[in-house]
Subunit: 199 residues, 2 copies
DNA sequence: GTCTATATATTGATAGAC
DNA sequence: GTCTATCAATATATAGAC
């Protein structure tokens, strides 16, 4: 995984105060949830007064949207970068390993991305849902390719796609750094996902 | 699955007003999350004033605890009832099918059970965590038995236990009734889980 | 662009009548 | 056991000085 596609340091956010707010919001949302997080808490983590937050973002929801949008795009990019060609088996293993490791390595933002969707406005949710469909399609296409060339047996393609995605996504629910190396977890899950579909 | 062990109609809660509060709270917590749910909303769903809630429960958190405790016990009971003996493969398939179908059929309460843990008080969380460990042990033991008799190949027992649990638990995140029959989903996931570990 | 101070709304929970 | 009325705390967001 390249350093660029895995970059989640929010260096593109300017000025630095806005970046501190994003980082503070991610930590707060992941720890306590969107609704339980106060703007005072976010501002405090960024080292400023509650009022200063509104110079950079018009609402708490907008902060969540920026995080969710960029996080979803980062996850999609990781998947696409991981598709290195080769047999469907190789490709599936690469996708699952990368997607799983991403959810472990970036478990804080991944938690916000996967479990705070219902706090988004309907318009913002729709925008994020487009990216989620693209993520799902990446997995489904590889499974379909494996069925096509006979290397996979998948009686229920949508259901199995969802199951493979579930495996990786649920990592954001339980992962903490003390639970092991993200890449090792990625390899384990790549193996398990491959076994689920191989002929 | 017997009607008794799958019963989640809260008939044991008396009087009826308290039962209406529990049911209203489950729907509200699942729809909006614990923090975003107001006591007014819960009372309104139960057809009473906000003040009447406190006659039956001392706090909003206590309502969540009652739901979480009973929900966890119901999930554990479903797992234990599903262990009908036989080969490790038969037992694993039975456990995964039942546990998955339960999360689909009772996706509303399952969502509260799985995703509102951090809203519990430390004491209440500790009580629920005991049940969660028992649930995990049920799966782990069957996998260990399969390794023992040579029918399963599981290089990482804790990691694979977590992966099997993830598959079922994540159902509570995405399932809605229009996404298919709970029992059919259970059978699909039983098959996928079995393939993950079979030699 | 940050601050202090505050407007305005809403929250969880309580008091007291019936 | 339910109600109306309300308290006290806290929330998001804004006003205006610097």
């Amino acid at each position: 995984m390249s350093a660029v596609t895995d970059s989640l340091d929010w260096d593109h956010v300017e000025p630095a105060a806005a970046r501190r707010l994003i980082r503070g919001a991610i930590d707060a949302f992941a720890e306590r949830g969107f609704q339980a997080t106060t703007t005072r808490d976010i501002a405090s983590r960024a080292g400023m007064s509650p009022a200063a937050l509104y110079v950079h973002y018009p609402s708490k929801e907008r902060l969540l949207f920026e995080i969710s949008l960029y996080g979803h795009n980062a996850a999609l990019e990781v998947l696409r970068s991981a598709d290195q060609g080769g047999t469907p088996a190789d490709r599936l293993r690469g996708l699952v390993a990368a997607f799983t490791a991403w959810h472990a390595r970036h478990h804080t933002i991944a938690h916000v991305v996967q479990y705070e969707l219902n706090a988004l406005s309907p318009e913002h949710l729709a925008e994020v849902a487009t990216i989620r469909r693209a993520i799902s399609t990446e997995i489904e296409q590889v499974l379909a390719d494996g069925v096509q060339d006979g290397s996979f047996a998948v009686p229920d393609l949508p259901g199995t796609t969802l199951a493979v995605l579930s495996l990786s996504i649920d990592v954001a629910r339980w992962y903490t750094p003390h639970r092991g190396d993200p890449d090792a977890l990625g390899k384990l899950y790549a193996d398990l996902a491959h076994r689920m579909v191989q002929t």
